[in-house]
């Protein structure tokens, strides 16, 4: 085993590091000019680009317009505004820089958020002549939301106010007070003229009253290495690498922390434990890996790991949550709506989620909270999502990688929102239809009697037969018939019937996707307890959503989840209509009725399919009993 070559001490020898920063300013504050000037003075504008600038200049005023360097696209050049995020690259002997150049136009809050999401620092421009605008406050607010650790406030166009110190001082005092409310650790003010070059790269002779560093020198020297989170090891699994029988590894990026062979780890959300056996790279195994290295981890035990899981140290774990609360920047034309289902992509996992509540909307100019039931384009709010499957998350302020997510609109596939997870301050209310979240401070206790002891006593292998299918497909009938046969053949078992449970355990639940999900969750948890107690469980629930069934599978456990699809089609079921529900739904008397005005998602990989639409009842029971009793008597 060799030490990774990056760890060799010689790499310390004045290796320049990287600073990613973003720029923000209202239209015409001089942002493009400033970036053009930085690039120009750092020698980062290539001769041929300069030539085309000179050609443009010849057509216009004759002066070299530095703003054109960054105004890349034809449409923008025509409109004279920057409309999207552009990335610029330059370097000095001390540092490499990546600028995310984002527009100041009011419509484009989302672009600012995009630029800030990867930035170590933000430069906010303020026009000295105009002073602080509402836009300027909005910019600082977004930058603070995305937890950019430090800002530079460049007070621009000082040449137009006669390089007057009092103008600068007033802006600094007022904006400084505002920034302090936003909790920035590091705020630096610099008076500049982007056009004339004062305090951009060299100290200004026109503002000798300013004793700080010019912008470029500040950017070159500001300390950022301490930002890296090397404490909390997190490893979202990207792919399972299984090229042959002898190798099984998990490819991913160490997004924070450090990992070594021998470390005790846990695979979340399932909670399975193992030790790291090897850290594999193309260049050989390494003795440790740290953020942001991309490696492949091997474990000493064959636990179940798949894409989307997060690996962490057993003594430092993210929270496994079924509902999350976050600050959200909305980026789509179609507003965010309470009760709608979206796709939440977090680290390497995407799960469906219901927007359960918009807690409030923030007015970015006053920072006041307003109540809202929608979040429109470029609006920012605090929201809650109920997740169809659990996620392993951290608070965004503690960990950008495991605290961030994007919201995708499933219909259009648009990236509709960007979320930053916050720790809930108060206990979440549990109301009808809202999934109960896992409490973080409750540790499960395990007694000395094992599940296998109980199973041995009852002489069977307990598991759950999960019947799913349209209303009228025969779930209840088959469940009762199967229970009879199992009891008759000496198998302790119990039927959990959806309709019956709705009179008791689940009487607070309706038929929205959210309630159905909670219904499934409770039944699955109950089934798991009964399996634990040694019983075979048969459930009869429509359980129309693949995600919900996946959740049930996860709760009950892959091994014990025997998914059985009763494949009668709508026509067949409607023809039978034992409870008269289809007829009512057709008349519009029942809403959210599966098969009529709510969807049924066919299982993708059921353990058993029975065609209850064409087979006789006896034949269906026979098939089901044969499969179940064989399994009940096995191992």
């Amino acid at each position: 085993m060799s030490r990774g070559r990056d760890a060799a001490p010689e790499s310390l020898a004045r290796e320049p590091d990287l600073l990613r920063f973003t720029t923000a300013g209202s239209v015409d504050d001089g942002k493009s000019t400033l970036i053009g000037r930085l690039l120009h003075d750092a020698g980062a504008i290539h001769e041929d680009q300069l030539e085309s600038l000179r050609a443009s200049a010849a057509k216009g005023t004759g002066a070299l317009d530095l703003a054109l360097v960054t105004d890349g696209l034809r449409a923008e050049r025509e409109q004279g505004i920057t409309i999207d995020v552009a990335y610029r690259y330059f370097s000095t002997p001390r540092r490499r820089f990546i600028i995310a150049d984002t527009p100041g136009h009011v419509q484009y809050t989302r672009n600012m958020a995009t630029g800030a999401s990867t930035a170590d620092l933000a430069v906010i421009l303020i026009d000295a002549q105009l002073g602080i605008q509402t836009q300027s406050k909005r910019h600082a607010f977004i930058v603070s939301l995305l937890a950019v650790p430090r800002i530079v406030v460049a007070v621009n166009k000082m040449d137009l106010v006669g390089y007057e110190q009092s103008v600068y001082d007033q802006i600094r005092d007022e904006y400084g007070a505002f920034a302090a409310r936003l909790g920035f650790a590091d705020v630096t003010f610099i008076p500049i003229s982007a056009l004339a070059g004062d305090n951009v790269v060299t100290q200004s002779a026109n503002m000798t009253w300013f004793t700080g560093l010019p912008l470029m020198t500040h950017l070159e020297s500001v300390y950022v290495a301490g930002d890296a989170n090397l404490i909390d090891f997190r490893f979202p699994v990207q792919r399972v690498v299984r090229p042959n029988r002898d190798f099984r590894g998990y490819a991913g990026q160490v997004v924070s922390g450090v990992v070594r062979p021998g470390d005790q780890i846990v695979v979340l959300p399932a909670g399975r434990r193992a030790r790291i056996s090897r850290i594999v790279t193309y260049d050989g195994d390494v003795e440790y890996a740290y953020a942001p290295q991309a490696v492949t981890l091997c474990l000493d035990e064959n636990v179940d790991v798949s894409r989307g899981d997060v690996i962490a140290h057993t003594n430092n774990v993210p929270n496994v949550e079924r509902s999350i609360e976050a600050m959200l920047v909305w980026m789509a034309d179609l507003p965010l709506e309470e009760g709608r289902i979206y796709l939440v992509k977090h680290a390497t996992r995407a799960v469906r989620a219901t927007c359960s509540q918009i807690v409030y909307r923030v007015n970015p100019d006053t920072l006041h909270r307003e109540s809202a039931s929608l979040l429109g384009l470029n609006e920012i709010g605090r929201v809650r999502f109920t997740l169809f499957q659990p996620l392993a998350v951290d608070e965004y302020r503690k960990n950008r990688a495991t605290g961030s997510f994007i919201v995708i609109d499933e219909a259009s596939n648009a990236t509709a929102g960007a979320g930053m997870i916050i720790e809930r301050k108060s206990a979440p209310e549990i109301g009808p239809g809202v999934g109960a979240p896992v409490s973080r401070n409750v540790t499960p206790h395990s007694g000395s009697v094992l599940r296998t002891d109980r199973a041995r006593l009852l002489r069977q292998r307990p598991f759950t037969v999960w019947l799913t299918g349209l209303p009228g497909s025969g779930k209840s009938t088959l469940a009762q018939a199967l229970e009879r046969r199992l009891i008759d053949t000496g198998h302790p078992c119990y039927v959990l019937d959806g309709d019956n449970l709705r009179h008791g355990l689940n009487r607070d639940l309706g038929f929205t996707p959210e309630s159905r999900r909670e219904n499934v969750r409770r039944v699955a948890e109950t089934a798991r307890l009964m399996n634990d107690a040694g019983l075979i469980v048969v459930t009869a629930l429509i359980s129309p959503y693949e995600e919900d069934r996946a959740m049930a599978r996860q709760i009950i456990g892959e091994e014990d989840f025997f998914e059985t699809y009763l494949a009668a089609n709508v026509q067949a079921c409607e023809l039978r209509d034992p409870k008269g529900h289809y007829a009512k739904a057709r008349r519009g008397e029942i809403s959210d009725f599966t098969g009529v005005n709510a969807p049924y998602q066919t299982p993708e990989t059921p353990a058993l399919v029975i065609d209850t639409g064409t087979d006789s009842l006896d034949s269906s029971v026979e098939q089901l009993f044969a499969a179940v009793s064989a399994r009940a008597s096995s191992g």
Partner: protein
């Protein structure tokens, strides 16, 4: 305990970012393909793909758009490298346009490129029904590329709409597409030309010898040295001359200018670039044809 260092050098950072992207593509798309242009960026991409999937094989095919005007050594290099890495090579050609005798001298570089390259590419992408197409483009290469996402959405006609791109935050990529739509993926977005060469040096990656200076027969035209290929047509008064030149980027020989250079090794090239003040696409004739031409071509589906 040995002293351990937890700060990753820039090239390793860029490498890790690219590997992460390549693995995301392999995990989330059904039919990804890697565009293999035979150039230095492609060579780097291939190494990154090897690293990303090690110890397994590269899990997607590579696609080369052959315009029939490539330097012959490029084709030989392509076949040898693909065979040695064990990747599946797919070659696409716009046979109809080639049969019609399309060439840059009679049709002009813009139309020729549109037919042989862009149409050749779009035809192949359609035929392969690829949902993700990995390319080696870098943002600092050209102005319009500065706005390109790492995951760049294309509609069912392969077109790019710079005004309507998906926001891209953190490293959370949205690769969801409807049937027929696709994502162009650029793992080298944050690399500069120097990074590419430094990485080639660090990793000892083999590249096409055309990148190294050598005495070659060239013709001087419009301020550029164009190589003499077998079908190159000389204008009245032009003549070929031997010069020590190299190519900074490789395209079709009628349209790829050479630069005077004495850089015969990778370290020579790095030293030359550190001095140089010209961006590399200056030697691609196509970009100069009209103002904003690259952006126009990208909208239409060019890489």
């Amino acid at each position: 305990m040995p002293q351990e260092i937890y700060s990753l050098p820039i090239l390793r950072r860029l490498e890790a970012e690219a590997i992460h992207i390549l693995r995301e593509v392999a995990a989330e798309f059904e039919r990804p393909v890697l565009m293999y242009s035979i150039g230095k960026d492609s060579s780097v991409l291939m190494r990154l793909a090897q690293k990303a999937f090690h110890p397994g094989p590269i899990p997607f095919p590579v696609l080369h758009v052959d315009t029939d005007f490539k330097f012959p050594v490029m084709i030989a290099f392509r076949d040898r490298i693909c065979a040695s890495l064990g990747v599946e090579l797919r070659v696409a050609r716009n046979e109809a346009a080639l049969a019609a005798g399309t060439n840059p001298w009679d049709r002009g570089t813009v139309k020729c490129c549109g037919a042989l390259k862009t149409q050749g590419l779009l035809g192949a992408l359609k035929a392969g029904d690829y949902d993700a197409v990995i390319g080696g483009a870098r943002r600092e290469e050209e102005r319009s590329r500065a706005k390109e996402r790492i995951y760049s959405f294309r509609d069912a006609h392969g077109q790019w709409d710079p005004k309507n791109q998906r926001p891209e935050l953190w490293n959370l990529y949205n690769g969801r597409v409807h049937a027929g739509e696709s994502i162009r993926v650029f793992p080298l977005s944050n690399w500069t030309e120097l990074d590419v060469w430094r990485y080639i040096a660090q990793e000892s990656i083999e590249v096409v010898p055309l990148y190294f200076a050598e005495e070659r027969m060239v013709v001087f035209r419009n301020g550029q040295y164009l190589p003499l290929g077998e079908r190159t047509r000389l204008m009245p008064g032009e003549h070929g001359e031997p010069r020590s030149v190299r190519f900074r980027s490789l395209g079709c020989y009628p349209c790829t200018g050479a630069v005077l250079s004495s850089a015969r090794t990778v370290p020579d090239i790095i030293a030359e670039l550190e001095e140089s003040r010209y961006s590399e696409r200056v030697t691609r004739v196509i970009d100069h044809d009209q103002d904003g031409s690259m952006e126009q071509k990208k909208r239409e589906g060019y890489f």
